[in-house]
Amino acid sequence: MTTTQGANADPVVDDGSTVVRINSVPELIEKAGFIRKQLALGTHRIGGVHIGGPLSATDMAVALYYKHLGFDPANLDDPYRNTFILSKGHNGILLYTIFCDLGLYDWDELLDTYNTVEGNTFGAHPNRLHVKGIEVSTGSLGHGLSLACGVAHANRDKQIPARVYVMLGDGEMEEGSNWEAIMYAASKKLDGIVAIVDFNHFSASFAAGENIVWPNMAETFRSFGWDAIEVDGTDMQAIDEVLSSLPPVDYANPGKPIAIISSTTKGQGIDYMEAAPGAWHIGGLSKEKLEETYEIIDAYTARKLAEV
């Protein structure tokens, strides 16, 4: 299988795999800009799509899928693979968009059949039995970290030193089940687990602190025995540094599981969405608005490129 990742692609492996590895931060930023535009396109073509969360998680997801995960579209069942679990399952469109870009699916298939019975591939929440590349079906919040505990045990049982990345929402952290997994993972030194909280300062209804208050989420993770790193989740350079700095998974010398609190804004990259995150938890875009939105994203991407 060949991938269609465009000019930014830098396939570094020669073992027959089709892993895409974009090593340059500017190219990752460009890729994030492209993904944001495709998300906007989806929001127009489909309508009624979760969009604020996917946008804030875009940079992190791009850094992972195009570099740090070693995601191989041609070898999805590789037992040695790193795992990505989208615990905030309502952001499925973000993964579908990346998967289309990586050649797993055609764009039209995504944009024409999303959430339709006919297609039944791309649901509003990702289904592992329908979508290649999805590790586990999610949608009910607060399951991903527990699933990760199981995958991490499995990896360690087989002595596979792979990582399990879990993407969560800040609102999602209100679910108690997460904290069961957090205390368990620390207790069992499941240090292959990397919990990434896309702290975009909004749930479906509330700005951060308006209802449930997090005094300091990193401190809370630490109090349960985790390492916690705070990062500006809109700064690709910083994201890349954090993901590059993670200690290797070494079962002989286990460390702590790691939380990355990634500070973002819901709707990241599209100013009018950032200003009204509640309205853009789910949304749709008219044709005119789409054109305007492309320009906003391009300008945002250019600004981000200028910063590196």
């Binding site: 399952g89 309502h90 959430n115 339709t116 019975v117 039944n120 791309f122 649901g123 509003a124 929440h125 289904n127 079906s137 999610t138 949608g139 009910s140 919040l141 607060g142 609102g171 999602e172 209100e174 679910e175 108690g176 749930s203 479906a204 209804s205 509330f206 209802n211 449930i212 509640g278």
Partner: protein, 320 residues
């Protein structure tokens, strides 16, 4: 007793979810013991948010923490309050079931849970659908389970609920459902309503199935079939008399529900009939024990044959 209604053929839509929320907020204003609790659904710039700001101890939002939401509601009920707690159905009936089972049912506290996006109406797939809660609540002692069929009935139900001493689970669809009833009528928890009389076949329907069954009955009337439609708005305690009466008068029953056919209204009707020993033929329309594809009800209902034409087709086959 069969009360007769003209049903609304206009297909006028009314938002059941919004109606419920609005009615409860009216109650909050008038009745100092009424509490409204949402689960990260308070939104902003709307009436719920205004009430949330105005009544910090009676209009609450538990955030994305449904277990806490349900037990907290029970805690208020312990002190004489009557909480109405509303969020997506699965997060109340499935996610928080231990809290429902123990703090509401076992403690026998008059909390009302309002599970939205009932059946496959969520459009968000099996994690946000609830095709299981009739079966679940049916097996839990002390629970009452209601599925109103239109926005106006939601208001009637809410009024009736004020005097009901036990916990109630109420399931409503996503919103914007066609009205079934045009005239005023008496509503009683546990008493089915015959919305259309008929002598050949009875459609026993609940929730969104009632409107669709009425449409089907109208179509079937054109074929010369006399089809009764019963609005079985209360799933538990089930109205045995209405079921037995339907068996006696028409002998043929089709149940219509947006729920797994295993354990839902159809199974409960079968249970009542077998226990009563009243002979009748029964056919169940519903979700055939599987996780449905993604899609909105407009698209999904015909797939499972519980739009009007689908019900009519099943009825024709059943009555051949």
């Amino acid at each position: 007793m069969a009360v007769q209604f003209t049903f609304n053929t206009s297909g006028m839509m009314m938002d059941a979810k919004g109606t419920i929320t609005g009615t409860i907020l009216d109650m909050v204003e008038e009745l100092p013991h009424v509490v409204y609790i949402n689960g990260d659904g308070t939104g902003s710039g709307n009436r719920v948010r205004a009430a949330f700001d105005k009544y910090p101890d009676r209009v609450l939002d538990a955030g994305i923490a449904e277990a806490n939401m349900v037990s907290m509601a029970a805690g208020m009920a312990l002190r004489g309050y009557m909480p109405f707690a509303q969020t997506f159905g699965p997060f109340l009936s499935v996610r928080a079931l231990d809290q429902v089972h123990n703090d509401l049912a076992y403690n026998d506290l008059p909390v009302r849970l309002i599970g939205t996006h009932g059946g496959i109406t969520s459009g968000y797939g099996p994690t946000h659908n609830t095709i299981v809660e009739f079966g679940i609540m049916n097996s839990i002692p002390n629970m009452t389970m209601i599925a109103p069929c239109d926005a106006n009935q939601c208001i009637k139900f809410l009024e009736a609920s004020l005097d009901w001493p036990q916990p109630i689970y109420i399931r409503i669809p996503r919103g914007e459902e066609p009205l079934v009833y045009t005239e005023d009528y008496k509503y009683e928890i546990g008493k089915a309503i015959t919305v259309r009389p008929g002598s050949d076949l009875t459609l026993i329907a609940t929730g969104s199935g009632v409107y669709n069954s009425l449409q089907a009955a109208k179509q079937l009337a054109e074929d010369g079939m006399s089809v009764a439609v019963i609005d079985m708005h209360t799933i538990k305690p089930i109205d045995r008399e209405a079921i037995i009466n339907a068996a006696r008068t028409t002998g043929n029953i089709i149940t219509v529900e947006d729920h797994n056919v295993l354990g839902g209204l159809g199974s409960i009707v079968a249970d009542v009939l077998m226990e009563a020993g009243v002979p009748a033929r029964l056919k169940k329309i519903g979700i055939p024990d599987k996780f449905v594809p993604f899609g909105y009800p407009d698209e999904l209902y015909p797939v499972y044959g519980f739009d009007g034409p689908g019900i009519a087709a099943t009825a024709r086959q059943f009555m051949q």
